[in-house]
Amino acid sequence: MSCDRWQEKIDVYLDAELPEAEAHELEAHLHDCSACSSEALARSEMKRDIHLAGKAFAPSPEFRRRIQASLEPKRTHPAWLWAAAVGAMGVAVLLIVLGPLLLRREVPRERLLSELTDLHVTTLASANRVDVISSDKHTVKPWFQGKLPFTFNLPELEGSPFELVGGKLTYLDQSPGAELLFAVRKHVLSVFIFKDSPELDRALANAELMHKLSFNIESWTASGLRYFIITDAGQTDVDDLRARLVAAVQ
């Protein structure tokens, strides 16, 4: 097969869409043909450059909040007007009955956030902030192997202001998790990853953006894992790092 035919397939190969048999043949050809292999290298670099250059625009935090708010179930049902007419009495009774229940729902969340904030602050105050010190994700990720009952992907940081500092093992409610430390300019961000559980879910339902002692906290779930970012860095940085972590899962 001439090189022209192969060169057409290089992109498909780099997109991981070439059937296995053909991919093997192409690999063998690349091994022997320097023209095609330098072409493949250039194209894979181009693919990577586009990947980085293409992530050019981030939504403003204000816009994110607007969209988030637009997804909340509407409360301006006409029935509400009717309910109001029926009397504040009914509402008051409901509040008396449900109030303690709602409060109790708030308590686990508060406790959880306090605990995570404490973990973050303890790390910052510690002389040995992390147990595996490396900015290389290929060093940090394997370190957790065998220490955690799950695995996770580290985000792509190339071209970003973030730097991976390292990681260590941590515990929340007796279950083990990973604490990853990232630096952005002078700020430090802790990323906690735990196995998601119904308890965590219940405590954190709808709590996407939180603040505790003026730390920014964000939490979400992906692939059965519960992620937290805690930091004194600004919302834009939190959003950016979150997006990178989310992208790493996919």
Binding site: A56, F57, I67, G159, T221
Partner: protein, 177 residues
């Protein structure tokens, strides 16, 4: 009411993680911040409204990208951007002739050059490159998002990349146009 609430919550859980990437694509398509916000807002409104028609277990990402894209295509900017591209699929079988060695030239292209090149590409080329290389969608997912057959995904992608390489090459050799 409870069911609606669950539905809304489920939608939020699926849709909010895609908020950043959808916005990024929207701004690449519209080339304007406020148009991009309008586009994303309309996409979320339509998707939430039509969420009942989404089949659980199928690809949500492709589904919502498709909504974003259809919304864009029927918008003012979208109609303008795609008006001249009707005959685009005509030369599907055109072989990708090998250009002069590109390795050296491409190595010198910088971050800005890639962004400028993406901006200059016709919108159908820009979007398919972004879906493949930035969103890292599979060909199947792209086919779903763009509502075209996989064969067309491959040929269009090849054409788009070739156009992008040619742009970068022109610049690298100093032939600014």
């Amino acid at each position: 009411m409870g069911r609606d609430r669950d539905k809304a919550q489920e939608f939020e859980q699926l849709a909010m993680p895609l908020f950043g990437p959808l916005y990024n694509l929207a701004q690449w398509l519209t080339q304007d911040r406020s148009d991009a916000e309008d586009l994303v807002q309309e996409t979320y409104a339509k998707a939430l409204k039509g969420f009942d028609s989404f089949q659980p277990g199928t690809n949500f990402r492709a589904w919502i990208y498709r909504i974003l894209r259809n919304t864009f295509l029927t918008s003012r900017t979208g109609l303008k951007a795609t008006a001249s591209l009707d005959d685009e699929e005509a030369d599907v079988a055109a072989p990708a002739t090998t250009d002069t060695p590109e390795s050296l030239l491409l190595a010198r292209a910088d971050h800005d050059a890639f962004q400028r090149a993406l901006q200059q590409l016709p919108v159908t080329h820009r979007e398919i490159i972004l879906l493949c290389d930035v969103e890292e969608m599979s060909y199947r997912e792209i086919a779903e998002a763009l509502a075209i057959p996989i064969g067309t995904v491959m040929s269009r992608l090849a054409r788009a990349r070739k156009a992008m390489r040619q742009l970068l090459q022109q610049w690298a050799t100093g032939a600014h146009s």
